[in-house]
Amino acid sequence: MSKTMTLTLQIWRQRSADTPGSMQTYKLEGVNEHMSFLEMLDVLNAKLTKDGQDPVAFDHDCREGICGSCSMVIDGRPHGPRKGTTACQLHMRTYKDGDTITIEPWRAKAFPVIKDLVVDRGSFDRIVASGGFVSVNTGVTVDANATPIGKKNADEAMDYAACIGCGACVAACPNASAMLFTGAKVGHLVKLPQGQVERRGRVLRMVEQMDREGFGACTNHRECSEACPKEISFDAIELLNREYMRAQVTND
């Protein structure tokens, strides 16, 4: 027999980008402990719809922790209290009957609110478009093992590539900096031979785009890597700093 609980939810409601929002309080009964956090919001939305109210808008897609859609600050922490967990994989068994839970969208100039908990993360796409790619010759497919890659580099590239671009790093940062994201994107390419051709230009352009989007600067609080649901290491930021300095003093 699974337990059910009654929760008090305080949720940021904002009709559109241009209208001011506020925190609204909802009481939700019959929350099953095996529900995910997003399923709990589904139950709330069903109830709101039935009552003739506007349901809470929130981003979601895969609901298995890999798409990077869910983006909500739960009780002052991006994706909630559990480390290495997206909001969709957070389960209600984390909470107790009678708990009050606050839910807000990511807060950053570069992530403007579209509605309620949904923010526009196009700034991340533009950072990737500015340099997060490799140029590959067309023609005959290269043999699978033609380019050997050391275990250490392969592991590190894979760890950086685990970034799902959710934006929790920005949401967690006291400065709303996107250094962890940009560092992970630079890092997963620079660790591989395919990423060497555009190495210098990539980091310069991506950092320039990051600044242009209005993200803050890193002051080494290390909150980003703690909040990252994919546990991207703070190494990404140190790597980005090194790559940036290298790009300033080399030509390749």
Binding site: S22, A108, R200, G201, A217, N220, E223
Partner: protein, 257 residues
């Protein structure tokens, strides 16, 4: 890949947020290096007036070094403050709407979050400290103290006769830094001011040293980063404990005229 779309070098460095961080970190390295040397030099107060005053005399006797170092420090400090103001502006602008519910931080420290505050207090202290001990503007009576070389015995003797000192050749007169130092810290208000400023400096450095190592990208992996954080705290502790010992030693009467 052509170079056509690559941004230029210095222009990107000057404009970018990482460029400002690099300025912050490299000037920080210079300033922390100076703090270590400054503290070690002042430890000579425990070796008595002759050692301390000879040290001061040596520094003033090599004006090229003295003014060279002062110029580098002044430029570093100005750039450090300008970079801090620029970064703070960027960071404040990056989150125009604050969270409605206070965030729960996981690893950051109060020292890291209040760097601007501790930095401003330290800056105000630096201005006061220079007026006090370098320019002699705040306590001129303690500042204008000299020793005169007794040629017969080759010893330095305190002399308050300003007319005599004005007439003597410079190689026979030296600034009595030891007495200035002791008389300065015998005033409880001044000693207290220095102690409070050093506590704020400790707060600033406990984040600053590790932060500049991170910004310069010097740690690869969590273990190295934890080590650098501990190095940062140790450097901060050594500098500030050394500096704190001076007003405390004078107030306790361990160092006296």
């Amino acid at each position: 890949m052509t170079d056509a779309k690559r941004p230029g070098r210095l222009s990107t460095l000057a404009r970018s947020s990482i460029g400002a961080k690099i300025v912050m970190a490299t000037t920080g390295v210079i300033l922390v290096g100076f703090l270590v040397v400054h503290m070690l030099g002042n430890l000579q107060i425990y070796l008595g007036p002759d050692t301390m005053n000879h040290y001061a005399q040596t520094l003033k006797g090599t004006p090229a070094l003295l003014w060279g170092v002062r110029a580098v420090l002044l430029v570093s400090l100005v750039l450090h403050v300008l970079a801090a103001v620029r970064l703070k502006g960027l960071n404040n602008a990056a989150r125009p709407q604050a969270y409605a519910v206070p965030r729960r931080y996981r690893v950051t420290s109060s020292a890291a979050r209040f760097m601007l505050l501790s930095g401003l207090v330290v800056l105000a202290f630096i201005v006061y400290h220079l007026l006090h001990f370098t320019v002699g503007a705040t306590n001129p009576a303690d500042f204008n103290l000299h020793e005169v070389l007794d040629v017969a015995t080759q010893t330095w003797v305190r002399n308050d006769n300003e007319q005599l000192i004005a007439k003597l050749p410079p190689e026979l007169v030296r600034h009595d830094v030891y007495s200035m130092f002791v008389r300065g810290f015998q005033n409880p208000l001044i000693a207290g001011t220095y102690i409070v400023a050093q506590l704020l400096l400790a707060m600033h450095l406990s984040h600053a040293v590790a932060s500049m190592l991170h910004t310069l990208g010097l740690s690869k992996g969590t273990a190295e980063r934890e080590r650098n954080i501990n190095i940062g705290r140790a450097v901060a502790a050594v500098i500030v404990l050394g500096n704190l010992s001076f007003p405390i030693a004078v107030q306790a009467g361990l160092v006296h005229l």
